[in-house]
């Protein structure tokens, strides 16, 4: 049984049919990537999985439980964390308060060990734990958004364009961290426009075009695919 099983979901914004009959799955221990151009519907899919948007029909199952109509806060407590596009750190709260919010579904006793783990992974955050997070750099905010999601001790981590707007060195660093997390047993669903990077770390990938999955395969094969090369890898 797949950790995440999405079956023919359809999502609408008013009369706009943004996601058309999309199905995909993520197995335990995998890194799976969803790639596609601006407006393809990548973020919409993640928001639907985490319960912020609803699908008309179809079903979403996480670790065997149907979550298609569960409230977002319930889904988080089941072990599914979503780092939204644009980081969305709570800019008026400090770094540490943001991390505490990430642990909202955990018990009080799990916060201190959780913080220690995150600070070990992101020493930069530890230096800035009392800083108001709106004043962090983009890269630091991405680290914070990821650290915050990790505080909920997720089985599945969904990342929406973690490399967006970051300098190449920072992008490298973020992808290193994704690989480390994966090695430590976290399953990852990665949405990226940086198809090159995403496909090179992913076990499998799906290519999304205007709300439909048009191609899927393992990461290496997609990297070699002529259509993918042409559309997403600059030749």
């Amino acid at each position: 049984m797949a950790m995440l099983q999405v079956d023919s979901i359809n999502v609408f914004y008013g009369s706009i049919h943004a996601i058309k009959d999309v199905s995909f799955n993520v197995e335990q221990g995998e890194i799976v990537t969803l790639i596609g151009a601006n407006g393809a519907g990548k973020s919409t899919i993640l928001k639907t999985v985490s319960g912020l948007l609803r699908s008309k029909g179809g079903s979403i199952q996480f670790t065997g439980h149907t979550i298609s109509s569960a409230a977002p806060h319930k889904i988080v407590s089941m072990g599914l964390a979503h780092v939204p596009e644009g980081r969305h750190v709570f800019s008026q709260m400090t770094v540490e308060e943001n991390l505490e919010m990430g642990a909202y579904t955990r018990s009080q006793g799990e916060i201190a060990p959780g913080l220690e783990k995150v600070y070990n992974r992101f020493p930069r955050l530890k230096e800035r734990r009392k800083q108001v997070s709106g004043t962090l750099s983009g890269g630091e905010q991405q680290m914070l958004a990821m650290g915050r999601a990790l505080m909920s001790q997720p089985a599945l981590l969904m990342l929406d364009e973690p490399s967006m707007g970051l300098a190449p060195l920072m992008v490298e660093q973020i992808f290193e961290i994704i690989k480390e997390l994966h090695k430590d047993g976290v399953t990852v669903l990665l949405v990226e426009q940086n198809a090159q990077m995403a496909l090179s770390v992913a076990n499998r990938g799906y290519v999304l075009e205007t709300g439909k999955i048009v191609l899927s395969g393992n990461g290496k094969d997609l990297l070699e695919d002529d259509a993918v090369k042409k559309a997403y890898l600059g030749g």
Binding site: L52, V76, F90, M93, Y104, T105
Partner: protein, 292 residues
């Protein structure tokens, strides 16, 4: 010495405005609603205290009952009138709030009559004025200022340090992301209404002890002025509501001390107009950025 006693008057009035303004600001911060029924919650609190004391309930218990009544009413208004409109345009919410305000005032008039009735202030705040260097400071003033400050300290602790308070800040900054943290947004909104209404309840008792009478419309002017205080401080900002409340109280007292008693209300609304024209985000409000 006259000056000092005017300062005390300003603090007394200002601290009540601050308590009420906090409710406006917190609710606005979390669901972007100007809750025009907030003032009428105060009126209900006043009646509950007055009627329970008249029925022979111990004043302390009566005060607690009044505050509880405000909390229950505030939460109920949200559940019944506002919650079904969470995804509707903000203007629908605003109109609903005005409707709830009229409903409460008219209900009160039907049940308790339109006339103002005396409030048993002396059974709640006892004792006489104290004398500091020739200045008489009324007991009510001292109790009002002290209780208000204490409430604000407790509120600040709640919002800054507790899990629920932090969740409240998270929801008011970014509701969608707060849900992704596992925060139950509906519970958090309910909690916000409960805290804001409790402060209104406390403000209600203090206000009725200062101006010892209750009437169905007593909440509307108090509510409006507290609203101005919230806007002056920066609507949505908790410290702003406190500062704004004290500023409006002081301004009113100073206008009155200048011999312009007829102009106090006018002065308050002039402040509103000036703030809206020149600094719509208020003294301590965050700049208005569109939420993505």
């Amino acid at each position: 010495m006259l000056f000092l006693s005017q300062i005390i008057n300003g603090l007394q009035l200002g601290s009540i405005y601050a308590l009420v303004a906090l409710g406006y600001s917190m609710v606005y911060g979390i669901i972007m609603l100007l809750n025009f029924a907030h003032g009428d919650i105060i009126m209900v609190g006043g009646y509950v205290a007055m009627l329970t004391i008249a029925a022979g309930v111990h004043p302390i218990l009566a005060v607690i009952l009044a505050i509880l009544a405000c909390v229950v009413l505030g939460v109920m208004i949200d559940k019944v009138a506002y919650a079904p409109l969470r995804s509707s345009p903000r203007i629908s919410l605003l109109i609903t709030a005005i409707g709830v305000s009229f409903l409460l005032e008219n209900l009160a008039q039907n049940i308790w009559g339109a006339n103002a009735r005396p409030f048993p202030n002396s059974s709640i705040i006892k004792g006489s004025a104290i004398n500091i260097g020739g200045v008489h400071i009324g007991n009510t003033a001292i109790v009002t200022i002290a209780v208000s400050l204490l409430s604000m300290v407790v509120l600040t602790f709640l919002v800054q340090k507790t899990k629920r308070g932090k969740a409240m800040r998270a929801v008011s900054e970014d509701m969608g992301t707060a849900q992704l943290m596992g925060i139950n947004v509906n519970n958090t909104i309910t909690f916000t209404f409960a805290v804001g209404s409790a402060l209104a309840g406390i403000g209600s008792i203090l206000y009725c002890c200062t101006y010892p009478q209750v009437s169905p419309t007593m909440g509307s002017m108090l509510g409006l002025k507290a609203f101005v205080a919230a806007v002056l401080g920066g609507i949505g900002s908790i410290p702003g509501a406190m500062v704004g409340g004290f500023a409006i109280g002081m301004a009113e007292v100073l206008v009155r001390a200048a011999g312009l008693s007829d102009w106090t209300d006018g002065a308050v609304f002039a402040i509103l107009i000036v703030v809206l024209l020149f600094r719509p985000t208020g003294l301590m409000g965050r700049p208005m950025t569109e939420k993505v």
